[in-house]
């Protein structure tokens, strides 16, 4: 009896080992066999994105922060505000400095002292989307026209890289801006602007920004990356899928359904119909992300009320 169970256990283990070996040795064949059955190696449907969670206020030392998990990909965005004098061309506007970091903890491919190649690319893409989407009104970051304005240092850290980094990064950026609370400031006798903390300070000093502690966000951009393989469109690819499939399309739509950006960084050629299908998927995904974001804001408010 026991010998029999042992035998089946060993057989099962051998079977598992073979699949794992097949996966490592013939990654493309392994993926294609899944796609033929319209399923992904992680048991998702082709057009299905991974489960996404948003936690607001993950970093207490920042003015706004959010931790986003997209499957196993984890992204931590944080915003710190500093007072600066605005540039001469735009005296009534603040500014945003975007930086995307891939520390060596996030992936075996990144080593200290040798920054990841993907990091500056994603950094630039984030900045472009953020500035062109019209989500932020930079005038709201102005304190005293021509004298003082906020510069928002936006730092996004990838804590675990498992594909679709840009998507996770943009969601975390949007979430961090919804969480952002602008600190109270006052002007001293010497003309310097300083932040005021605590209830005592609120009555003691004349405040510049009593209202407008939250930014009014315009149309929020929501991203979806699709990997393209032959006729299949794989939404929200994992790192494993990204390494096998060369072509991908990243679509960013805003909350009104307007197109903010499409990126197809090289790889194989693709048809217009495929790109249209990707836009369709991005539209559905945008709706879901909007719900997730609203839920996270509510969850945080409940937390605070308690």
């Amino acid at each position: 009896m026991s010998a029999e169970t042992d035998a089946t256990a060993a057989g099962g283990l051998a079977g598992e080992m073979e699949v794992e070996a097949y996966r490592r040795l013939f990654p493309l064949a392994f993926l294609e066999r899944h796609l033929r059955e319209s399923v992904r190696p992680d048991a998702r449907r082709l057009a299905e994105a991974r489960p996404t969670t948003v936690a607001l206020g993950a970093v207490s030392s920042a003015h706004g922060s959010a931790l986003v998990r997209l499957g196993d990909t984890a992204m931590l965005a944080s915003i710190k505000l500093e007072v600066m004098s605005p540039s001469a061309e735009t005296p009534d506007q603040g500014s945003v400095a975007v930086e995307f970091h891939m520390p060596p903890i996030c992936s075996p491919l990144v080593r200290p002292g040798r920054p990841a190649e993907a990091a500056p690319v994603i950094s630039k893409a984030l900045e472009d989307v953020l500035m062109s989407s019209g989500m932020l009104n930079l005038k709201e970051l102005c304190l005293i026209s021509g004298k003082a304005s906020w510069v928002a240092y936006l730092d996004v850290y990838c804590l675990n890289a498992d594909g679709s980094l840009f998507d996770a990064a943009l969601i975390s950026v949007v979430a961090a801006f919804t969480h952002l609370e602008i600190p109270l400031v006052s002007v001293g006798d010497d003309g310097r602007v300083f932040t005021v903390g605590g209830n005592e300070g609120k009555t003691k000093y004349e405040l510049v920004n009593r209202e407008k502690r939250k930014l009014t966000l315009g149309d929020i951009p929501f991203p979806l990356t699709c990997a393209l393989h032959k006729d299949s469109i794989l939404a929200d690819p994992t790192a494993e899928e990204e390494s096998i499939i060369e072509t991908s399309v990243t679509v960013v739509l805003d909350s009104s359904g307007r197109l903010v950006s499409i990126q197809k960084p090289g790889g194989g050629v693709t048809s217009m119909a495929t790109i249209k299908a990707c836009i369709g998927l991005a539209k559905e995904r945008g709706q879901k992300l909007k719900e997730i974001l609203t839920d996270s804001v509510e969850a945080m408010e409940v937390d605070q009320a308690e």
């Binding site: 030392s61 931590l76 970091h101 520390p103 903890i105 804590l159 675990n160 308690e306």
Partner: protein, 263 residues
Amino acid sequence: MMELLDFMLSWCFSSTQPKGYMLCSTVFLRRICTLLSVSADDAIMLLLLGNTEVMQTGPTTAASGSAYAEFGKTKVIVSVFGPRESKKAMLYSDTGRLNCSVSYTTFATGIRGQGLENKEYSGMLHKALEGAVMLHTFPKTTVDVFALVLESGGSDLPIIISCASLALADAGIMMYDLVTSVSVSCLGKNVLIDPTSDEEAWQDGGLMVSYMPARKEITQLTLTGEWTDGKITNAVELCMDACSKLCEILRERLKDPASLASE
């Protein structure tokens, strides 16, 4: 008196409390101890109990092993990669190499930083761990230990060291024993265990001990500032005792990481 203390403690650590209470518990406990004028040693043990917030394995799936630690405000992630091919064209070596790197996020401290590698802590982490890792079990290859401090709230280095040894164990790297590390600050007559950044800023002297409890061996000891003879001996013993207790917690986590994730 002790009944009141017991009640307060159970309130602080009951699992039904939301995390916010857990986070404020250190400050809170310290206040109780002053109120009840508990002797320094007792108070210190209590504080340690109160400060062990969250330690868990496996936040970074891309790594061979990883661990996350949250002690009060201090939040640290450590990933371990390897044993893998050595980075540079290094000479042949019969023993493996241990490569450590500690960096801070730009928002870890109150003033926005550069997010560069902290070379001093990288070296200290390496020295604290090299005595514990069985380097001969992975000849010609390197094990990389990378730490990222998400938020700095005091006692950063000892937390990084403890977290790194948990991550090494999670990665299945052979070690003689888990290394745990605890620091104390000397403030006037008081010895405070696991100090916060403010306490560290005002301390007269600091002591950090990295310890292998099962082997009863110290891998690293740093002493800074002003100390008196008797106090040093007491403080070292205190740290060693705290390290042993911390090690038990680490062992529990390694045995059953799933239970913590579901909490």
